[in-house]
């Protein structure tokens, strides 16, 4: 191989790459947070006794899970202006990421709620707790704890898929890399650096989310303490 690696030309692009990294972090955080909120709300809605919300949530979840994120982004950014809804690339991808993540998390959390035994509902109701108090204090905490690990995996996958926002020109880490690579022609160097950053982000996100879990959930903390 006659190719010599030159990372020098990349130094000039450091500010753009850092900006891109920041945007990737922001998109990931908002996508995770927004998706979590949507997901939990949908999971709760699908446990309501009436059929309509359950059906609507089912449709939403299946559409999100059975179509690619990239196409979802295209529908929102390129498609919606056809019916008069015009959004910036940034807002479009944010909505797409939240909706996409929300669909997956709704399904995971719904599974957690369903695996909670009916008797827990009965005990809480018998104490006079309202339906939402029962969910808030009795059903959701152990359900979320039970599904925490798949939720973390899903959120890490979401972080990785934020790279797709570059397809509509959002300058996240990948977007900034595309620009740096086309302007310096040091393609391999750029993508090697970017790859290393994503792989590290993967570990950092996993560690941070798991740490958050330990802080939030008393029981996993207890099991950990007991084991050590």
């Amino acid at each position: 191989m006659n190719y010599t690696f030159q990372f020098g030309p990349l130094v000039a692009y450091l500010p753009q790459l850092l900006n891109g990294l920041w945007l990737t972090l922001v998109l990931s955080f908002l996508g995770i947070f927004g998706g979590f909120m949507i997901g939990v709300a949908c999971a709760v809605a699908s446990t309501l006794p009436s059929r309509l919300p359950r059906f609507l949530v089912r449709c939403y979840v299946e559409v999100m899970r059975n179509t690619p994120l990239l196409v979802q982004i295209f529908v929102i950014f390129f498609g919606l202006p056809n019916i008069g809804i015009r959004m910036s690339p940034m807002n479009s991808v944010l909505i797409a990421l939240m909706l996409n993540n929300g669909g997956y998390i709704a399904e995971i959390v719904r599974g957690g709620i369903q695996s909670t035994h009916r008797s827990q509902f009965e005990a809480a109701e018998s104490l006079g707790l309202s339906y939402f108090q029962t969910l808030r204090f009795v059903i959701l905490p152990p359900a979320l704890e039970k599904v925490f690990s798949p939720v973390v995996s899903q959120c890490v996958l979401l972080m990785l898929s934020t790279s797709l926002v570059s397809a509509i020109g959002v300058e996240d880490l990948t977007g900034a890399a595309m620009i740096a690579s086309s302007e310096t022609f040091r393609t391999m160097e750029v993508y090697l650096v970017i790859a290393a950053i994503y792989v590290s982000l993967n570990f950092v996100f996993r560690a941070l989310l798991n740490a958050a879990g330990l802080i939030i959930f008393t029981r996993s903390r207890r099991t950990l303490l007991r084991r050590t």
Binding site: N66, T67, L70, V71, F74, G79, T174, A195, V199
Partner: protein
Amino acid sequence: MRTFGTNEFLFIVYALQWTITLTAIAFVGGGVVGICLALLRISSRRLLRVITSGYMQFVQGLPLLILMFVCYYAPSLFGLEVSAIAAAAIALTINSSAFLGAIWESALRAIPKAQWESADALAMTPYKTLRFVIAPQAIRLALPSTVGFLVQVIKQTSIASIIGFVEITRAGQLVSNATFEPLKTFLAVAALYFALCFPLTQISLWLERRAARRGSRA
């Protein structure tokens, strides 16, 4: 100006063959490599396990788009030109291998140690133990997640559109540029993905329920 009509829709449907081809290559290729990875992960040699795990973690931590760029541009360093489909197929294969390897590794690990030991006691070779005792049980365990991951692969082929490979997402972009009807076009694209993926998702769910029923009966 063209409108989004039957011909435009058929153009996208025609590109479906490339989505399916790419999926098939990635799934089969990733499956073959994935089996090797899963077996390496349960090998008795620590070094092999560590290296394999490193590879799997690395690939799983890499956005597929970046992997595709690397596969597309890296060969040019050696003066080679690769087509978009080749780059996409290689990237998808690498990506799938790591995820499938992880799914199958956990299935292999879920088989109780006593199964290995009792096969040992029957003087079976490690290969035969794997072939006749472990694999049949592990396959049943891993089947729902494997079908679930197939859905993942189908959706991920859409990323090949970014390096210019004309599968259905790229076909959608072309039609959208020609007709200025992106909403109809991309909804049609989404509907095609849905038609491919939804049945598989349902099958995966059915397999999962069946496995759960069997598990509770045993």
